[in-house]
Symmetry: C2
């Protein structure tokens, strides 16, 4: 498929996505992009690349193309992509008021004077006509540098509510009185000029792509695909060489399965695009399923299957489709752990693909793993995310694996949590692994199997991996209260484990107390109120499920709970309970609040189920390798558990030195004088 002067070898297109690596970790990001190209993506894009120090996203490490000195690092990326005959795309950006410029210290700029998008109490200044001319020059110069760095496709980026080109488009923001404000034609002017400039500068060598959010998903309060969204595409029609279309803001484009379970959820917004342009179109929206992909191309809705998250979950998705190994695809569960890494400014992680972000540092490959030095008999106890992943990778390495678990059905916490409202897609973590384990000649599964230390000793396996998970505390001890509940009236108290086991709750008000601050407290409140319970959510945080800010879900969670009538009490720490009420104290003032309830569910901390581990370790006779993994080692996210299981399988039989190499491998600043 031709994209201006360049040609993509197939229809799989990795659209720009963040990695939490960017300009800080050039070798790591090059290896990550190379894996995508090796996996069959015909186009592999960078994250957004700041074109100028007035678009400085520090401390967040996106890509950077401020000047010539950025080119060697970018060249690592293009060389890596070209080694596999893929096209390298770069997403040039000026972030306007989304860039606080905390490093460069330049005053941020915007169509009008306005607050930064972050909470820093500083405003962007309104751009003058000279500023706009200067911006165009910066963009043009960056395009030339991008070409020189070897990129085949250069983006003009108007999406995610994060870029100047889009800010100028939107009448809610752009209240200018000059030729860049007012009519749609005026508001489109900057975007048109940036495309024209880029074509003029590098259009002979590079395809020019436009990434446009055609709908803000805010109804008539924002841009709509049926109104100005399509008008913009129609006005610019064949000017760019490719349309990469999506919805804004980022939380809508990268919606989680918890709130938007349908794969391909952006189709209804973007299906008009092909009717307005003769140029190729790429779109996204969690396109995991090959059937859906074929249908989208056949129906003439898109020319390219775009992917960010599915390409993270499975970099080899295109090759697997090509070779017909559909069942091998590691499907994205739509949890946004990948996004959370970027939100935190650390290298990208993925629940499904524990090798993501480890391509360079650990030299991990998502599809291959070193054969065992000596194949041995191994035992994995527990079939949650850590145990399943560990068992699978041990088997792939050639070890014989016995996987024993207490329950009839495998999955552990993933199985349990997937029954909660919105988390159904998370079961893919288990299904992908179980399907492979069940077929694996080296693997024996032992469901309904509770092993004692004696049993394990008798099995005489060379290596035992204890993946027995963790249980929630029942005493109230947590981040905000290390003493626990005073005088607890125990009949009132439940833990998330009780709910996950479908224990019956009494009638009356159910109080969910969240001192963990992850997702579970909010999920339980949602689930129980949806089931018809009267629910009150009390949390020591100021908002519901604060960690989910990083996964772009927090505002949806709180909105849904409010809509369902859940009473929300923030800023309260549990203190004591009676048989009909719980007493809390304000985290700021210590002022008491007493709430009546029929039951209280404590989402506080967890205790690892490590009795078996300690019993095995205490046996003088046992010289075998005994290791805890996942929540049994340290309770964390499902992604942490999968990684822990994967790591243990990779590291088994490695020397301490080999293991430590990966901790210490990092990219250090050059100490050469500037």
């Amino acid at each position: 498929v031709a994209i201006g002067p360049v040609t993509a070898r197939n229809r799989f297109y990795q659209v720009p996505h963040c990695t939490g690596m960017g300009h800080l970790r050039p070798q790591a990001v090059a290896a990550l992009r190379e894996m995508k190209a090796a996996g069959g993506w015909a186009v592999v894009s960078t994250e957004e690349a700041e074109i100028h120090p007035s678009s400085d996203l520090s401390p967040y490490p996106e890509q950077r193309i401020w000047d010539q000195r950025d080119l060697p690092a970018l060249r690592l990326i293009t060389d890596a992509i070209h080694r596999h005959d893929a096209l390298a795309a770069i997403e040039l950006v000026h972030n306007g008021n989304n860039a606080p410029n905390l490093y460069s210290r330049l005053p941020p700029i915007a169509p009008v004077s306005m607050s930064l998008s972050s909470d820093y109490p500083k405003q962007a200044r309104q751009m003058s006509i000279e500023d706009i001319q200067q911006l165009r020059r910066w963009h043009r110069d960056a395009a030339v540098r991008a070409r020189d760095a070897g990129f085949d496709i250069v983006y003009v980026y108007a999406g995610h509510l994060m870029t100047l080109a889009q800010h100028f488009l939107l009448p809610t923001i752009n209240q200018r009185q000059d030729c860049y404000g007012g009519s749609l034609e005026n508001r489109v002017r900057l975007l048109r000029e940036l495309i024209e400039d880029t074509k003029d500068a590098v259009g002979q060598h590079c395809g020019i792509a436009v990434r446009l959010a055609v709908d803000e998903l805010a109804g008539s309060e924002g841009m709509q695909a049926s109104e100005e969204g399509s008008a913009v595409v129609e006005m610019l029609a064949d000017l760019p060489d490719l349309w990469d279309v999506n919805v804004a803001d980022w939380s809508n484009d990268s919606a989680t399965t918890r709130f938007v379970p349908e794969d391909g959820y952006q189709i209804s917004y973007i299906e008009f695009v092909k009717s307005k342009t003769a140029k190729p179109v790429v779109a996204t929206g969690r396109l995991n399923s090959p059937d859906l992909m074929v249908s989208l191309v056949k129906r003439g809705i898109v020319d390219f299957i775009g992917a960010a998250r599915p390409s993270i979950s499975d970099p080899f998705l295109p090759n697997k489709i090509k070779s017909g190994d559909i069942s091998e695809i590691r499907e994205c569960i739509g949890c946004n752990i990948c996004v959370s890494s970027d939100s935190l400014g650390v290298p990208i992680r993925c629940t499904q693909n524990p090798t993501m972000g480890e391509e360079w540092r650990r030299n991990w490959h998502p599809e291959t793993i070193d054969a065992a030095r000596t194949a041995v008999d191994t035992l994995v106890v527990g079939a949650g995310p850590a145990g399943l992943e560990c068992a699978l990778q041990l088997a792939q390495r050639g070890h014989r694996v016995q996987l024993a678990y207490e329950t009839a059905e495998a999955g552990g916490r993933v199985l349990a949590e997937s029954r909660l409202r919105g988390l159904g897609a998370w079961l893919r973590v288990r299904d992908y692994r179980m399907q492979k384990l069940q077929q694996h000649s080296k693997v024996q599964l032992f469901p309904d199997n509770t092993l004692s230390a004696n049993d394990i000793a008798e099995l005489d396996c060379k290596a035992v991996f204890i993946a027995t998970g963790a249980k929630w505390r029942r005493d109230g001890i947590g981040r905000s209260n290390r003493k626990g509940i005073q005088s607890p009236a125990s009949p009132l108290i439940y833990t998330p484990d009780d709910i996950l086991k479908d224990e019956n709750l009494p009638d009356g008000n159910i109080l969910v107390y969240d001192d963990e601050h992850g997702y579970l407290g909010g999920v339980l409140a949602d689930h129980l109120s949806h089931q018809g319970h009267a629910v009150t959510l009390v949390t020591s945080a100021s908002i519901v499920s604060p960690w989910t800010v990083y996964t772009l879900e927090q505002h949806r969670i709180q909105a849904r709970l409010i809509d369902q009538g859940v009473a929300i009490y923030p800023n309260l720490v549990i203190d004591s309970s009676t048989d009909s009420s719980v007493l809390f104290k304000c985290v700021f003032s210590g002022q008491p609040t007493e709430l009546e309830c029929a039951a209280t569910i404590l989402v506080t901390e967890r205790v690892s189920n490590d009795e078996l581990f300690h019993e095995l370790r205490s046996r003088p006779a046992v010289n075998h390798h005994i290791e805890r993994i996942g929540d049994a080692l340290a309770p964390g996210l499902i992604a942490d558990a999968v990684f822990s299981g994967h790591l243990a399988a990779r590291d088994y039989q490695a020397t301490q030195h080999e293991i430590e190499d990966a901790w210490y491998k990092r990219e250090l600043p050059a100490l050469t004088p500037w």
Copy 2:
């Protein structure tokens, strides 16, 4: 003064403090530390230095001494400090559950299994005896590396509630049943061993310092100086070579003037220390005043005058005292802008010292500035923070400066805001500059002077700097609402400018609406309620003054407002008003809330006062340099305004190329294979 085997040349001691640079910006941090040494500090310390990947504070760039490869960067620092005959100290640390290990992916560790200190839903695991032995080995190895990197003093760090050595001390955290838990002797064991190990490893060459928080300022709920705090010092007495004592947590150690206005506020907690040890003692607590310093040494309370923030505000404080230039000292205003930079993970900034963090990148020196290429007549319009700083630096460069301002008294917004409750110390920003301007032979001050564009044209200055500030919007437009208030009943509406001008407020409930999220909304609510008004604070944020989380003040602000009876309504955006009430909508659900009030103060956005600038620029005849600075260019913090004024004075007469050099100067990752 001897510190074990090394000797400090005077009693000025820069204790460890963060810079937001750390391992990411080695050249910048070396230049910063060198400036302290050049300014007369006998000891210059690093920020905390992670000893191992299991203490990985990513994305926050503190110092790092994981392995040999960190030594070249650390050597830059020690060489820089030694060039000025100062001693270089390094603060070794293991952060326990304060380290989320988001880069290294190692499971965090703690005395007991417990939540991370951040909101990431992952727990640290309880350290085994083997883990403790390993920790001691890591610490010992790091001490040897520190010595090899040229450090003269090596710290064992038990403070700020951020380190394992302190976590073991505290019974609220350390509930261990083994020889490291229980009795105080057991809880001190790890700290004692770390000191012994460090002495044993490097004590021949290096002084061994202990940084200990002797009081948690939590009464009997935490460690108290009068109880276990002094018992710990007594038990370890002469084991370390130096005691660096303070209070925990960080928000108490680095208290702002807004809440703790007294300089030397830690003295009552640490004054016992000298009675328990024969070793030298250093302490801090905003020790700005030479009189206080002398008294502390004379009274035998400390041997060293410790400083973090005063050394940031004035790196040359020791030299100025030595030379008797007391009035030249640029006193710290205790605003914690320095801390906010570290909280954000970006290079350190300072309200009083705009050169802080710019030593390497811009080659700025806090005490000297390049002479003008050609000294000319300049005019500065406005005597707020930007105008004062610009005028002062222009004069220092040798230009003739006329400083005209509309009011009788100089200071602009600093003067106005300093009248609000708690912000009195901020007036030092004006006083330091005015005192120097008034004495400067090149400067003429014109108070009570409103200049028109015609007046300015007649003055015929070569350069005009417009520092006319900004005014607060009265229409409700802000970050959460770009349409403003619908049908505003104007008699109700006030802006912060009205309050700063002491406009009389009506009786009845005063509603402060904060859509800015900086400090001012919270300050106004505090100020007015303290004056006796009934105050309601409504904010589009989830907490009061969210940006102040970065300055470590947020919890104090919200606690004080609650204590003063201010009603707080979070998560609301202004919608419309009547003549007796305001209607808000929930940011999550859109649900309405109507609040009765006698007056509403809108803290939303500001509009630059740039009419004069635009009028001057539109005159065809004027070829002179005309530049906006500070809030007149882009409203921001006082620190941003001071920087803007300083930058304009430095950059005046520079070429665009020279100006741009500083934007692009940065430390890039080495691309060499690992």
